[in-house]
């Protein structure tokens, strides 16, 4: 039985158990009502309890089996092949296994296969069939016996409601555990690969090296084949572009937030706010070619008019467009926090004779400051993580420069460059991506922590 069919079977069994459980408790209660026994939980909880008994354990078993069985089958196939021809090397065995599986799914023509592969494929097919059969049997048996167990427990005084509530709590815990475990898994894999990277490249060279040129020679005698992994130019480029973006986004975003929340009438606000938020919905690749095809050439040409030399891919172009992209983050979040400042504070300032702009500058903005700071920090982490615009508009050359008119590159862009094309997974070049990713992750994590700290530290200033 296929996975999806089994899944629907389980669903059907669940619905059936629910209905059956509900019927049964009605019958039981009707029988005991004459003796004055009052039912503890409502019918729907009894039904749900039986349904959960019928579905939960088999579902876990189903997922576990589906996850683990391919590994076991592979191991068994390996044993089988080794018993057939004991003198295979590890590499040959791996190739043979791949061929057997290819033959099994039909992507390897019969003429390319030998007897060993055919035997292996037959064995593999038998194993897969057995596994599916066993899985279906176990899941359905578990489901039916679970339903039977649940039904046996039903009684008018059975406390089905707290049980069901408790089970739902566990389901919620499992759901949040998935997100947390994934994060932990990603961080751990970053850390382990980074440690491997630092076996090949010294830690200090990576963090403080001034030259980034990650090419590894294909032949030993190639020119410039050793590769250097100094990450400073990348972080400098990231910082410069982020800084330019913030120079655009913070004032524009903040002022539009103030306008929207303090000056605009409700009708205009109702139109303008969603319109600004649309900016956040534009795919970054669109911003990217907008930057590369329009902004960068425009900057270069207008720079030439006034005697400045801009390269056609410049940090300035990427930073400006990225700033535009980030405006809605700042304006929308700031608008929310400014609106959350109590009206009584504005009234208090107005009653003292403060003008509207004095009230905003001296009372409203200071009160909203924690929220605004965290909005800005979130926008910064967004800018640091942004890749597409930079690839297209700022280039890929790792220049260490403070001149925004030159082409620079960023950490994220280099991660892309490192992993594009054919890769070996143990070369310093590939592993460098993990190291860069880890540092980037660390920086954005720190920014988020800082944002949280700022918000919590200053939150209850007005109340």
């Amino acid at each position: 039985m296929s996975l999806s069919f089994l899944f629907f079977c389980l669903l059907g069994l669940g619905i059936f158990s629910f209905l059956f459980g509900r019927r049964r408790i009605r019958a039981l209660s009707a029988a005991s009502a004459t003796q004055g026994i009052k039912q503890h939980s409502r019918d729907i909880y009894h039904g749900s309890f039986v349904a959960v008994c019928a579905v939960l354990v088999p579902l876990v078993a189903l997922l576990a089996w589906t996850g683990v069985s391919p590994l076991i089958i592979d191991a068994m196939l390996e044993d089988f092949l080794r018993s057939q021809s004991p003198d295979l090397s590890v590499g040959e065995l791996g190739v043979l296994m791949a061929k057997v599986k290819a033959y099994y799914v039909g992507s390897l023509p019969n003429s390319f296969a030998n007897d060993l592969m055919r035997d292996g494929s037959d064995y593999f097919a038998a194993m897969v069939d057995n596994s599916a059969m066993a899985r279906a049997t176990i899941v359905i048996l578990l489901s039916v016996s679970g339903a039977a167990y649940g039904l046996r427990l039903l009684a008018p005084r059975f406390t089905a409601r707290p049980m069901v509530e408790q089970i739902f709590e566990y389901v919620m815990i499992a759901a949040s555990a998935i997100a947390i475990l994934t994060t932990i898994g990603i961080v751990l894999s970053l850390i382990f690969e980074t440690i491997r990277f630092f076996d090949k490249v010294p830690f200090l060279e990576f963090l403080f090296g001034l030259s980034w040129s990650p090419q590894i020679a294909i032949r030993e005698d190639q020119v410039g084949g050793s590769g250097t992994f100094g990450a400073i130019p990348l972080f400098a480029g990231t910082l410069m572009i982020t800084f330019i973006a913030m120079l655009v986004a913070v004032p524009v975003g903040l002022m539009s937030a103030v306008y929207l929340s303090e000056y605009a009438n409700p009708r205009l606000r109702g139109i303008a706010k969603p319109a600004i938020e649309i900016l956040a919905g534009i795919p970054t690749v669109v911003y990217g070619f907008f930057a590369a095809l329009m902004v960068a050439p425009f900057l270069r040409d207008s720079g030439a008019e006034i005697g400045l030399t801009l390269s056609s891919e410049s940090a300035l172009a990427a930073g400006l467009v990225m700033g535009i992209m980030i405006i809605p983050f700042i304006s929308s979040l700031s608008d929310d926090v400014i609106n959350a400042v109590p009206q009584t504070l504005r009234d208090g300032a107005a009653a003292l004779g403060a003008t509207q702009s004095e009230t905003i500058r001296q009372v409203v903005l200071p009160a909203a400051l924690p929220g605004i700071v965290s909005a800005i920090l979130l926008a910064i982490s967004r800018a640091i993580g942004e890749t597409m615009i930079v690839v297209m508009a700022a280039g890929v050359a790792a220049n260490l420069t403070a001149n925004p008119f030159e082409s620079v590159t960023t950490v994220t862009v280099q991660i892309v460059m490192l992993l594009v094309g054919d890769q070996e997974f143990d070369s310093a070049k590939t592993l460098a991506a993990f190291a860069l990713g880890l540092v980037l992750f660390f920086i954005t994590l720190m920014l988020n922590v800082l944002a949280l700290y700022v918000v919590n530290r200053f939150r209850e200033q007005y109340d």
């Binding site: 504070l345 300032a349 009653a351 004779g353 009160a367 007005y462 109340d463």
Partner: protein, 258 residues
């Protein structure tokens, strides 16, 4: 008890009407308020007493769709005429709100805020003096003099309200408006504020909106009773509370409506 010491009219309201959009909140109020007296505005919720109070410093201006008709004169000058600058007006008419609303700044900066924006105290020493004097007037100085840099929001509710009073009188207004200043406070803090109001009366004209009959009776010299946007009756507090002329007033004061 209209005694001889105070009977100079400070605020004159003539035919004051207020509309919120289409709805009419005040139907032509004529009321004189005397200098150096406490006038209490009483009446059931939604009767227009707070709206009237907010006409005196034009706080209704900031409410969208609010229109004020008629005239309010302070010292015989109509504050709704074109020559009046709202900023200047509000420096002369301070206001204390229902809920204490100190700014999220230090105690010192809260009190110094008004003098600073009006450029009233050019030097730091002068500003220090104004802050100290205001906090003393508000009866808060002894409690906060050692922590003027602490946030104003960290004070207790009653202290916050006295801080707001200090903030209002720091710009040396002629009139102080109070919109249920004790409704968020416990009885002890309320008693402190009431004493303070009695004390402030010597220098300021005070108009107070209150829901507490006892409070109106305790602290005010004159009382005005509002009902459904009309001024039903006004006069010396003692007279209003002992022998009201209007039946509605009597019903409200004795707790039958409201």
């Amino acid at each position: 008890m209209v005694n001889s010491e105070a009977s100079e009219v400070k605020i004159k309201a003539r035919e004051v009407t207020v509309h919120y959009g289409e709805a009419r909140a005040l139907h032509g109020i004529d009321l004189d308020l005397n200098a150096n007296e406490v006038t209490a505005l009483i009446g059931p919720s939604g009767c227009g007493k707070s709206t009237f109070l907010r006409c005196i410093n034009r706080m209704n201006d900031v409410i969208e769709g609010c229109r004020v008709g008629g005239a309010v004169s302070i010292d015989d000058q109509n504050i709704y005429s074109d020559e009046i600058d709202v900023v200047e007006l509000r420096a002369r008419v301070g206001m204390v709100f229902q809920k204490p609303n100190p700014f999220p700044k230090s105690i010192y900066d809260n009190v110094a805020y008004g003098p600073r924006i009006h450029g009233m105290a050019p030097s730091r020493a002068q500003l220090d003096a104004v802050v100290e004097a205001s906090l003393k007037r508000a009866g808060l100085w002894e409690e906060v003099k050692d922590r003027l840099d602490a946030p104003g929001t960290g004070l207790s509710g009653g202290q916050q309200q006295r801080l707001c009073i200090a903030r209002a009188i720091a710009v040396n207004p002629a009139i102080v408006l109070m919109d249920e200043p004790c409704s968020a406070l416990d009885p002890i803090a309320t008693a402190v504020i009431e004493e303070l109001i009695e004390e402030l009366r010597r220098d300021y004209t005070i108009v107070i909106v209150t829901h507490s009959m006892q409070q109106a009776a305790r602290i005010s010299q004159r009382t005005a009773y509002f009902h459904l946007g009309n001024l039903v009756e006004h006069g010396p507090t003692q007279a209003i509370f002992t022998k009201p002329e209007n039946q509605q007033t009597e019903a409200y004061i004795s707790g039958k409506i409201g």
